[in-house]
Amino acid sequence: MRWTRPAAVYLVLVAGAVFTLAPFLLSVLTAFKPRQQFARESALAWPDPFTLDNIVALITGPAQFGRAILVTLLAATLILVGQLISSILAAYAFARVDFPGRNALFWVYLSTLMIPPVVLVVPLYLMMTEAGLRNSFWSLVLPFAFASPYAIFLLREYFRGIPQELIDAARLDGASTLDVLVEIVVPLSRPIIATLTLITIVSHWNSFMWPLVVTSGSEWRVVTVATASLQSQFNGNWTLVMAATTLALVPLLVLFLVFQRQFVRSITFSGLK
């Protein structure tokens, strides 16, 4: 079989890698390209000279991209902290506390996994409007900060694997439920918590439809919305737009390269973005 030869395999793999990386390289090159050169020369030309003008203009100019980065970072962090705390508490209750209605409630939580996020945009918009929170920072955070049934499901599976003897021993020493959580359960669950942290940060750093709908104007613009509005506002100013897509990717890229192994495992493990 010709296709089983390593040379043929590598040829296919390299072609795939080039095809995957090319758009990223093109956008990075364009981000560092002088505007005049971009207008004059081919899209494929190497930057001459390399310039930081686009990045500087992006952050200090009317696009207020620096502010967008801060808003996104703060929102994603608050969502992460809220989800982790509420999910760890709930998952422990479902895994280790025998309370009436536990199974029924767990099924309710699980069933909410079937609700497509797109369906929630219109009703949440109405609810945020009625609550007077439209176009506020909290409208970006509140709908996601209290619960992630998905995280609860994964954490519960993990918590069930923690030996009950450890918990009982701590109990005999007079530890409360919260002590048990903080001193035993959470330290033992570091891998799954790291996984959830990565998934949550990536998905909320990248989220677009909800922030697009619920915010207006530049005050609470997140990175994705700022990128989209750059594209429509400064039509044709592609060096600025590519600076935005490049800058937006950098934090995730760093996170990805540092936690690569964890990332790959977490994607396979989670099956969700």
Binding site: T20, A90, L105, P143, A244, I267
Partner: protein, 298 residues
């Protein structure tokens, strides 16, 4: 003694109930307010008329009648179905192929895997914007490279396939990861036994590996079908639903109906229909999965 035992068990049960519900309180608030309540609200809103500014008023089945008869939503459903039918089989096939190449134990496989996953961590919106520029007719990188002037995104017959290609490009690495995990889970003894029986190359793949990948295949198909049904970011960046509504997928239609046409009632009807479709797919898959696949998982 017996009486105090019962009393103590009662006390424990009460304490457990208190502990359990205290621990659940924050997440229960989130699930009720931001997942269950919105579903009720969207169903309620589908019977109302609202333009974002004026008062909300009850209109009975008017929204359903207009959405189901004017053809715009029908077009969106059709576009979405074609999109799903383009994206899912192609990205599954490419992902499966890449996974078989990456699980041969060749040196450097981990590097290729890392590269292929890269588009999956980037924002779909940002990738859409980058591809919008690459596919631009006059100064775009692709047309510059091939020396043509093809209207990738404004030719009605090319727009949907172009959007699908961008989405496939984004998702292939993710699909590859799952198939790699699935392939690596196949016990060596099984493959060894098949080789001894004379299976090799293609027949090993089609007759041994592919059937054993069925649980992975189901998982990948279901999650990618459901996410493809909700595609929005790339469409927004690339075509805004155009030209001539040829890329007007359901999620984009809901968005434009609500926030460009300011007809929240019609948008709610579309959301309800999408909810019903996706829940049906999930439940059907659950039934099928439970019947056909579970016994093979071990």
């Amino acid at each position: 003694m017996a009486g105090s035992g019962v009393a103590r068990r009662g006390a424990i049960r009460r304490r457990n109930a208190l502990t359990g519900y205290s621990l659940l309180a924050p997440s229960l608030f989130g699930v009720v307010c931001f997942l269950l309540l919105p579903v009720l609200v969207v169903v309620w809103l589908s019977f109302q008329s609202w333009d974002l500014i004026g008062p909300i008023s009850y209109v009975g089945l008017d929204n359903y009648r207009s959405v189901l008869t004017d053809g715009v939503f029908g077009n969106s459903l059709l576009v979405t179905l074609v999109f799903v039918a383009l994206v899912v089989p192609i990205q599954t096939a490419i992902g499966l192929w890449a996974a078989t190449l990456l699980t041969r134990g060749l040196p450097g496989s981990a590097w290729f895997r890392t590269i292929y996953v890269l588009p999956w961590i980037a924002a779909p919106l940002a990738l859409g914007v980058v591809w919008k520029w690459i596919l631009a007719p006059t100064d775009g990188a692709l047309n510059t490279l091939i020396g043509q002037r093809i209207e990738w995104l404004s030719d009605p017959s090319l727009a949907l396939p172009s959007v699908a290609a961008v989405v496939i490009w984004t998702n292939v690495g993710y699909v590859t990861l799952f198939f790699m995990a699935g392939l690596l889970n196949i016990p060596d003894q099984v493959l060894e036994a098949a080789r001894i029986d004379g299976a090799g190359g293609m027949s090993l793949f089609w007759q041994i590996k592919l059937p054993l990948l069925r649980p992975t295949m189901f998982f990948v198909l279901v999650t990618t079908v459901i996410s493809a049904f909700q595609v929005f970011d790339q469409v927004y960046a690339l075509t805004q639903g155009g030209p001539a509504r040829t890329t007007d997928v359901v999620a984009a239609r809901i968005y434009y109906e609500a926030f460009s046409a300011f007809d929240l009632g019609r948008a709610a009807v579309m959301a309800v229909v999408l909810l019903v479709i996706l829940v049906t797919i999930t439940l059907a898959q659950q039934l099928y999965f439970r019947r056909r696949v579970t016994y093979e998982m071990e």
